[in-house]
Amino acid sequence: MKTQREFFATAIDIRRWLEADTGTGEESRIRRDRLIGRELGAVDCSKAERVLAWWSILNKQKTGARPADACNQVSLEINATGPSSDGDRLASLVSIANGLLAVGGLVAGVVIATAAFAYQGNHPVNLFALFGILIGVPLVLLVMQLVLLGHRLPLPAAMGDALRVLSPALWAGSWLERRMPSGLFASVGHASLRGSYARWQLIVFSQSFAIGYFIGVLVLAGLLVVFTDLAFGWSTTLNLDPRWVWQGLSGLAMPWSFFLPAAVPDLALVEASRYFRLEGSELAASRAAELGRWWPFVLMTILVYGLLPRCLVAGVAGRQLRRAVRRLLEEGPEITALLDRLRSPAVDFDAGDPEAPVLQDRRAAEMPVLDIDERTAVIVWNNAVEAVQYPEFWSRRNLPVPARHDAAEWLDMEAMLTSIRTPRPGRVVILTKGWEPPLLSFLDFLTAVRNSIRSEASIAVVPLNATRTGVDSSDQVVWSRAIAQLPDPALYVAGATS
């Protein structure tokens, strides 16, 4: 089974890989992932397992090995990630950050405790101040951090910034982001991080620091207890009945009073420990020994109210972090899209190689105008001008109505040619439907006409529009191009503008 660290490293690798993969074309991504998705089949496994299985197959494909087939099987043996992948590096950095924070906390604990336990022998160590510094402040910070990371409080910006400066966890977060920009901690500076990985990782960071801190405090306190004499007391300006103080402290000691009665202060001790600075500094040695009896209570208080809550929070946050790491493989745009590609059928139209691009040139050239004389043979191709319209076609152009020869796709070529040949025309005009493309059969016909009449006679092809008033310029271009394919210098396209 994968450890948390390996899981995290893989998750980071996958996310980074997917980010880089956004450059790949949509269709090839669909094809690639759907292929793997079908290999995984409909096996019932969680999103994260599915993603991991996909990753392992992908890596095997890259290394050329045979892909595995079921996801529960593969999720057990994913270690395709290289030894120095980004994820691994980030995971190491996280471990390093945790270690550094713990050491930093330890040092801070020792330093702060040294100050808090400072005892020159003239006054006993004030318990209120001691607990306030060593336990109270970290407790308040803990609560504030938990609240701040979960919710956005309407704090003034300056105060929010100040709080951030105080948080070693946020230092660690921004250090990580700078060392290796993963985006995971990017919003640390300005946001609450509900439900995200960064939130739990930052809480864990805090606990590392705090646990180090309390261990430092406890170790130092232990050393002081063993190797120096300490005297504890309490002091207040208020007119406080020692009985109340005793009740309060016994309440604090409740959790361990059942098995460690020695660490519970008694009323006599509480009464004896009150001191006033005006009393003077000299304490009787006997009283010093008496006041030293506080130490088990002090250590237990630090342990139970300092270290223990941090350990509990660390435990809960660790569990949540584990889930959040899992969610790194279940949520987010790229992961969602991937899961989608794995699941949904790839619909695709495949046409092999792309066709060559079409070159377009739609410029129409100048055209000679349709003209006829008495030696012109007029051929109507494919009934381009119907018989009833034929006389009007010419009269609209102020031309005499010439004899009409019909030629068409469906007529016999020889018969057509015979009728045109007699008498031999000095010129041939062929009326065609301009909106229909010139087929090769028409070019065949032109060639046949040329071969059957005198070679110097000109042949004018006149494409017409549907109203027979002229021709659309795009159609004209099409016809001119088609006609130009024939090597006939006396063959041209003419316009029939009326």
Binding site: T22, G25, E26, E27, R34, L35, R152, A186, S187, G189, H190, A191, S192, L193, R194, G195, S196, R327, E331, G332, P333, E334, T336, A337, D340, S344, P345, A346, V347, D348, F349, D350, A351, G352, P354, E355, A356, P357, V358, Q360, R362, N382, N383, A408, E409, W410, K433, W435, E436, P437, P438, L439, L440, S441, D444, A466, S474, V478, R481, A482
Partner: protein, 469 residues
Amino acid sequence: MSLPVFAVVGHPNKGKSSIVATLAEDESVAISPVPGTTTDARRYTLSVDGEPHYVLVDTPGFQRPGELLKWLRSKTDKASERADAVAGFVAAHRDDPRFHDECELLTPLLEGAGILYVVDGAKPYGPEYELEMEILRWTGRPRMALINKIGDGDFEAEWRQALDQYFSIVRVFDALHADFEKRISLLRAFAELDEAWRPRLERAISALESERAHRRLRSAREIAACLKETIAFEEHASAGADVTPAALDALKARLEEKLRQRIRRRETQMFDRVQQIYRHETLSREETGQLIQDVDMFARENWEVFGLSRSQLAMTGAISGAAAGGGFDLAVGGTSLLLGTGIGALIGGAGAWFGSSELARLKTIAGSLGDKVVQLGPITSPNFPWVLLGRAWFHHSLVAERNHAYRDSLKLAIENEQNLMNSLPDSLHRELGRDFQRLTRGELADDAFAEFAGRIEKVLALQPVEILV
């Protein structure tokens, strides 16, 4: 079960390739006003998970139908031998360059393809078509006629009378403007040609339908991710020791330009990916000067068309606290903007305008060694996400509706009382406003992303503009 194959045949230049491009969603199909552009038969296979569901074959048109029919008639006068005669023709002319197109066209039919005969209903019917139709009848294959319309004429009635003589099914299908429903209904009609093809075609149809729904969701996710990322953009620079207001202003201008560049790049990437989802990769490379991609994100007109007015922003709760101080004079009362020609022509002082609100605020953060580092971002302009969403919405509607046979630029018009975002239902408006606020604060966690994308999908499901062609 046999694989349905349909050969798209007919006269040259009647939109055969266009129909194939539309049905196969392939923008690489060669389409041109020059007849004879398609020189060889090309097969387009629709496959779902690699399994072919049906095949479309684009063919060149008939070039010498008269000679071909004459040859066939000379071979037999028995109806029972006609299909064999066609096969005989192809066998005899396979290597004859004069009948290359005919052989390319007939071969798929001999191999069992159904016939989709395409004519242009905007042009008059003519007797020369009877040759083609007669040849197709000789093949004995099941056949359907599609009346496409290239241009304004209307000769549909005339065509129907002729086509009914030769085809069991005659349908109108506009290659350039057929929307998804029309394409699906055409596929359904294909099944009527041969009942054996129905199961595969039905499966193809349901795959296409779910794919269609899916594309919108995927686009919504792309757009949501783009919003999420761009809003979080930050630019940093070291301010050095010189932190006079003038120096800071200059620095801010520089950072802002960098920020804009990054946003533009990210937006382009999002556009590209949405186009990829709809298989319109090359759209932007065409001469489509009026497409939204070519209008700068930061041009003033965008902010007028897609941004919100001050009162709208207040309604979505987007102006709050400090942002309200900015003051928005974005009121675009009663304008009806012609986007397309409109935006392109109107762009004046591009790039310098967000109303009086800034894109992002400049913060000074402590750097190492006493050095001052300034940071611009994340984006706090309350209008920014609306503008980005508006553009994405607009672009999506264009891409999603665009036909793959359509190769010219589209003219788009926004006819709107105030602006585009007004057409969103109030509840959606408010929800998005909240999402954007959370994005601005970096509070939209991964687990809320799906919901956010869902709302974007709702936007995409609405039609922002009329597409005039």
